[in-house]
């Protein structure tokens, strides 16, 4: 059978979701952001949620998420996405409101807003991209940077005495009474992508059902910041990141 006989519309089993528009994404080759964007677009499409979805974009590499996923977006000041999401959801309870935050946003500058939104049990979904580095500003240390990990502000590796410990903020989130679903996923293999998709879908459904705050951490790579190929970065993540940030549900109520 010839390839052209297979490439027919009736045989198509996978395509780019329509809600992920044709704008060229500014992310580096192999960046995890693209996969997560694609999943969000797929899920919103499958849930027929285009008309009620509101995304809150962070500051960081994903600041331009609003250019790629075709729903309504507000671009928040650094770290404040959960505060904006709180208002957007409380003032419009019928909407599906989600934040998209990096590790600096969630675990450094926006720790207060993130923890308190979760502690109040705001009916929002928080998508948290943890790649242990500040990508957009050029690879500086993040609160989640691993000990010994080299970044442009820890050029000799992160040291406890100088920089403190990596912060597993998702573990803190799981302790809060306001969260209903806290999970840690990755998108580096086909199986992982499928699980991450199911997790984000559940978080979105929780937002609509008013069950409380859902947090989906995606342990991610930043191959440019880590100075590796995308393939090496995936391997490095499996070998190093998963020890500190183990994959799986932390809370599922």
């Amino acid at each position: 059978m010839d390839v052209n006989d297979i490439l027919k519309p009736e045989n198509r089993v996978y395509k780019k979701p329509t809600l992920l528009n044709d704008n060229h994404m500014h992310y580096c080759p192999g960046c995890s952001h693209g996969v997560v964007h694609k999943l969000i677009a797929e899920i919103l499409e499958e849930m027929h949620a285009e008309e009620i979805a509101i995304g809150i974009a962070p500051v960081g590499c994903a600041v331009f998420a609003y250019n790629y996923i075709d729903v309504d977006w507000i671009e928040a000041p650094h770290g404040r996405a959960p505060a904006l999401a709180t208002a957007a959801k409380r003032l419009q309870p019928d909407k599906l409101v989600f934040t998209y935050q990096g590790d600096g946003d969630m675990a450094a500058i926006g720790t207060a807003e993130s923890l308190h939104a979760a502690n109040r049990g705001e009916n929002i979904a928080m998508i948290f991209i943890n790649n242990a580095i500040y990508g957009m500003t050029g690879g500086q240390m993040a609160p989640t940077t691993l000990l010994g990990m080299k970044t442009s502000t820890t050029p000799y590796g992160r040291r406890v005495d100088l920089n403190g410990y990596p912060l597993a903020i998702t573990n803190l989130m799981a302790q809060l009474d306001g969260t209903c679903y806290v999970t840690r996923q990755s998108v580096h293999t086909p199986a992982a992508v499928r699980k991450a998709k199911a997790a984000i879908r559940k978080a979105f459904e929780n937002s609509l059902q008013g069950k409380g705050t859902s947090v989906v951490e995606i342990v991610s790579t930043c191959n440019s910041g880590w100075k590796m190929t995308p393939e090496q970065a995936n391997k490095w993540m499996e070998e190093n990141m998963f020890a500190k940030y183990p994959i799986g549900d932390l809370k599922n109520e």
């Binding site: 729903v71 309504d72 208002a87």
Partner: protein, 361 residues
């Protein structure tokens, strides 16, 4: 129905908000304005009008909740006092740059730093000259009575929505804490989602009927487009300057000396005028109601025949800079103010006027 009540300025503005049809309040307690949140919590508007009231974890969170709500085309506000307003400057700059309407109440207390809980007007620079980063302005309304605390909430929102810009009620601890008679306006209904879609087509409320997506953002990395954005903001500011200058004048026709004061100080200056009149000294009072846009032209006009201007402020001299700009060095401009939360007596102000302009000497 209209209602006549006796209440504090801080309480009046909470009532005014509910009656305007406000959708949400987000705030953090700080003296001397905590009655705003307390009054709202006591009135439980979520059970009547559906208004959301939320005590945030910080002023930073509160202003960003206001930003989020404003981006959704909702009628939202926050209130705080000076140190809290400093924390809010980040959000204010974003709100201005994103061109969304919001109302912020600052019941000023003395600074700098933690300062004092007593009244002050020393946030004039911060409110009128930007405060946060970048080239932006807020409409700044200065109430001098409990009635105006109520009325300017409505005016503030009307202007904020008309120009898609943040507006601030710049009150001080005196106006916030004092009790007066107030006529509360007849309540209005909150806007429905359909009304918001019509009035604010830019609002973040979901792509109903598959309309193109709306994005509220202050970011633009393309230099040319960012300059165009800034030029658009400036055009709006010129339009506001043209249409929205508000002030009150008392006895400014052929006065010997002109007093310029806002908020609570304008009330004290009224008494100063009365005492002076008994002594045969003709004083006029110009009270700017909008501190931005500032009534430059009117001050110039009203002081044309005056021998001098005394600017009376609870600060070391901030509004005096705008008054000097207004008169272009053609009139002698002096300042009198008390710091640290002290409110001057009318006699004290009059003595200062006489001394600084060498009257009766």
């Amino acid at each position: 129905m209209e209602e006549v009540r006796l209440m504090k300025g801080n309480e009046a503005l909470a009532h005014a908000a509910i009656r305007y049809g406000a959708d949400g309040y987000f705030g953090y307690p700080i003296t001397p304005q905590s009655e705003v949140l307390e009054t709202l919590e006591e009135l439980r508007p979520w059970e009547t009008t559906g208004m959301v009231v939320l005590q945030a974890e910080s002023e930073l969170a509160a202003i960003n909740m206001v930003y989020g709500g404003a981006a959704c085309g909702k009628v939202v506000f926050t209130s705080s006092s000076s140190p809290g307003i400093s924390l809010m400057q980040e959000g204010l700059s974003y709100i201005a740059a994103s061109e969304v309407p919001a109302l912020i109440v600052n019941v000023m207390r003395g600074g700098p730093g933690l300062g004092t809980i007593h009244p002050s007007q020393a946030d004039y620079f911060q409110a009128t000259k930007g405060g946060g980063h970048g080239d932006y302005h807020m409409i700044v309304l200065a109430p001098s009575s409990v009635q105006e605390m109520c009325d300017f909430m409505w005016l503030g929102w009307d202007l904020a929505f008309k120009y898609r810009t943040p507006a601030m009620l710049l009150a001080d601890g005196i106006v916030g804490q004092m009790m007066e008679k107030v006529v509360l306006p007849e309540p209005r209904k909150r806007r429905t989602e359909d009304e918001i879609r019509q009035l604010c087509p830019w609002a973040i409320n979901g792509r109903k009927n598959m309309r193109p997506r709306n994005v509220v953002t202050s970011l633009e990395l393309d230099d040319e487009r960012m300059e165009q954005n800034n030029l658009r903001f400036q055009r709006t500011y010129r339009e506001i300057e043209k249409n929205e200058i508000r002030y009150e004048e008392i006895n400014t026709d052929d006065c010997d000396y002109l007093l310029v004061a806002f908020g609570s100080m304008a009330r004290i200056c009224q008494k100063v005028m009365e005492i002076a009149q008994e002594e045969g000294l003709k004083l006029g009072l110009l009270r700017p109601i909008t501190l931005w846009p500032f009534p430059y032209e009117q001050i110039k006009k009203s002081s044309r025949n005056a021998k001098g201007i005394l600017v009376v402020e609870l600060s070391a001299g901030q509004m005096i800079e705008d008054v000097k700009l207004a008169v272009e060095c053609k009139v002698d401009v002096k300042h009198y103010g008390r710091l640290g939360g002290i409110v001057p007596t009318p006699e004290e102000v009059l003595d200062s006027l006489k001394e600084q302009f060498s009257i009766n000497k």
